[in-house]
């Protein structure tokens, strides 16, 4: 069983590593956000008395990277269905759950690595994490987020029939989640309506948890963040499992 999970995990990593455009695209967009917004709005942010905008922005952009990469990873499931490879997996003497687990872990690993890569690059442009032990906690948060969002992607890839459909649903989920979280602006000075929406957006807690660990600045508190993130992760894994189980060929 471990051997099967390992080869399925490895398959995802190989496929990812072999498509250079995927790697470049996944990291390029968040960096654009970081540079354009970070430098463009940095002085305004500082004048409003909120401190260094780059410091504030990096956790949000890391979350963005993992969110986009992980959900979009779901196209791999869609392609496996469309191109027939999934049949090879489904007739093998291996439980479906094992197939999902190996693949999702592979997808989550690629999502996590992209987030880590963005963190690394942001160090080069002046980002300074608060402390090393807390940075390690931040990695755990990134891994949780990657697993949850990859499960969501796997679920979507199991029930959606074609590429345009996948992109449309993706946009309906990703962009609202992202813009209506605390990724780009501080919540304490946001209008009440936005605060309430953000409160019901699981992504806010991921961003907040990363901010808490990377720059020691938390809106909800780390305990709340972890609880919300944990519940979301479980729910998304359940969603992915149910959808993947229902696949018929």
């Amino acid at each position: 069983m471990m051997r099967v999970i390992y080869v399925l995990w490895l398959r995802q990593l190989k496929k990812y590593g072999r498509s250079k455009s995927r790697v470049v695209g996944a990291v390029g967009q968040p960096l654009l956000f970081l540079l354009a917004l970070g430098y463009g709005l940095g002085s305004v942010f500082a004048r409003a008395g909120k401190g260094d905008y780059i410091q504030f922005l990096v956790p949000g952009v890391i979350v963005q990277t993992i969110l986009f990469a992980s959900i979009f990873w779901g196209v791999n499931i869609l392609f496996d269905r469309m191109l027939g490879f999934l049949k090879e997996l489904l007739v093998a003497p291996v439980p479906r759950l094992t197939i999902l687990l190996g693949s999702v872990l592979g997808g989550a690993t690629t999502g996590f690595l992209q987030g880590a890569l963005v963190l690394l690059v942001s160090l080069a442009i002046g980002f300074r994490p608060y402390s090393l032990p807390l940075t390690l906690v931040a990695f755990a948060i990134m891994a949780m987020l990657a697993i949850g969002m990859t499960s969501l992607g796997a679920g979507l890839g199991s029930i959606i029939d074609n590429m345009p459909g996948f992109q449309a649903v993706n946009n309906f989920i990703i962009f609202p989640l992202y813009f209506l979280s605390s990724s780009l602006y501080p919540l304490d000075s946001a209008p009440p309506a936005l605060k309430i929406i953000a409160m019901f957006n699981p992504l806010s807690y991921a961003v907040d948890a990363l901010r808490g660990t990377l720059i020691n600045q938390s809106h909800y508190g780390l305990a709340t963040d972890f609880a919300a993130l944990g519940i979301t992760m479980v729910a998304l894994i359940a969603f992915g499992t149910v959808c993947f189980r229902r696949i018929q060929t």
């Binding site: 398959r11 191109l83 490879f85 007739v91 003497p93 060929t249």
Partner: protein, 265 residues
């Protein structure tokens, strides 16, 4: 006679109001080559999907090497290899990697893995291309690789769903030569579907003629001729189904099924 490797007992499969497979029963024995011959939409692929655990029968039982495909799924899955009508390879992996993944899925011991993959890639004459990505392969090469992959775990049964569709004559001949050898030398049971009369006649020991979800006749070519009082398989086929086989024929049931499949996805 030995106990059958494939035993299908009163199996029916319906999709809503459409009955794709209607109360079929048949048995195939070790080392036998058995063909399902019938027009498109007769229920051939649906039968293979039930036999390979991809679809559950609405009623009836299917056993492979004595294992029930619904209740003893894992054991039944180990008993067969399958080459589907459409490709089921990972294009972004190499030929070797596709084989390796299959070996792990079927729990082949690491020690024998390399040797067996080498042997099979040589058998299908792809050993020189083992490190190439499958996306660079031609249709015939992909089909050969699928066959090699289907044989990797030494199954007792090999299912081939319209295996020669879209292949040139040369590749067809090579493929059937392999298959004959496997059934003769390893006593492997072969079950294939086709809508080519010549293929069923030349290759199969026994033929089941299917039409509209039912097996309308079963036997050797001679038996089928005798049953119908005709002098060729084609004559027998026409007498039984009342129509000639045409590639382009698509029945209403076919359209319906394609539609429902699309909706279920």
């Amino acid at each position: 006679m030995n106990s059958p490797t494939i035993a299908v007992d009163h199996v029916t499969k319906s999709f809503g109001d459409v009955t794709a497979v209607d109360d079929i029963s048949f048995e195939v024995y070790p080392g036998e080559i058995f063909a399902f011959l019938g027009p498109n939409g007769a229920g051939k692929s649906t039968t293979i999907k039930m036999l390979t655990t991809l679809l559950r029968p609405t009623s009836g039982t299917l056993r492979l090497a004595g294992k029930d495909v619904v209740r003893e799924q894992a054991a039944a899955r180990k008993a067969f290899g399958v080459v589907f009508q459409d490709p089921s390879l990972d294009d972004e992996l190499t030929a070797y990697e596709n084989m390796e993944l299959h070996a792990v899925l079927y729990g082949l011991p690491r020690a024998m893995l390399n040797e067996r993959i080498d042997m099979l890639l040589k058998l299908v004459e792809l050993d020189a291309r083992r490190g190439s990505y499958v996306k660079t392969f031609s249709g015939g090469m992909k089909r050969r690789l699928e066959i090699a992959r289907g044989l990797l775990h030494e199954p007792q049964i090999l299912f081939l769903d319209e295996p020669t569709l879209g292949l040139d004559t040369q590749t067809r001949n090579v493929l059937w030569a392999y298959v004959r050898e496997l059934s003769r030398d390893r006593k492997m049971t072969i079950f294939f579907t086709t809508h080519y009369l010549e293929e069923a006649e030349d290759i199969a020991d026994r033929i089941g003629i299917v039409d509209r979800g039912k097996i309308v006749a079963m036997g050797t070519v001679d038996e089928l001729r005798q049953q119908t009082g005709t002098d060729s398989l084609e004559g027998a086929y026409l007498a039984l189904t009342g129509k000639a086989i045409r590639d382009e024929e698509v029945s209403a049931g076919d359209n319906m099924r394609a539609h429902m499949r699309a909706r279920r996805r």
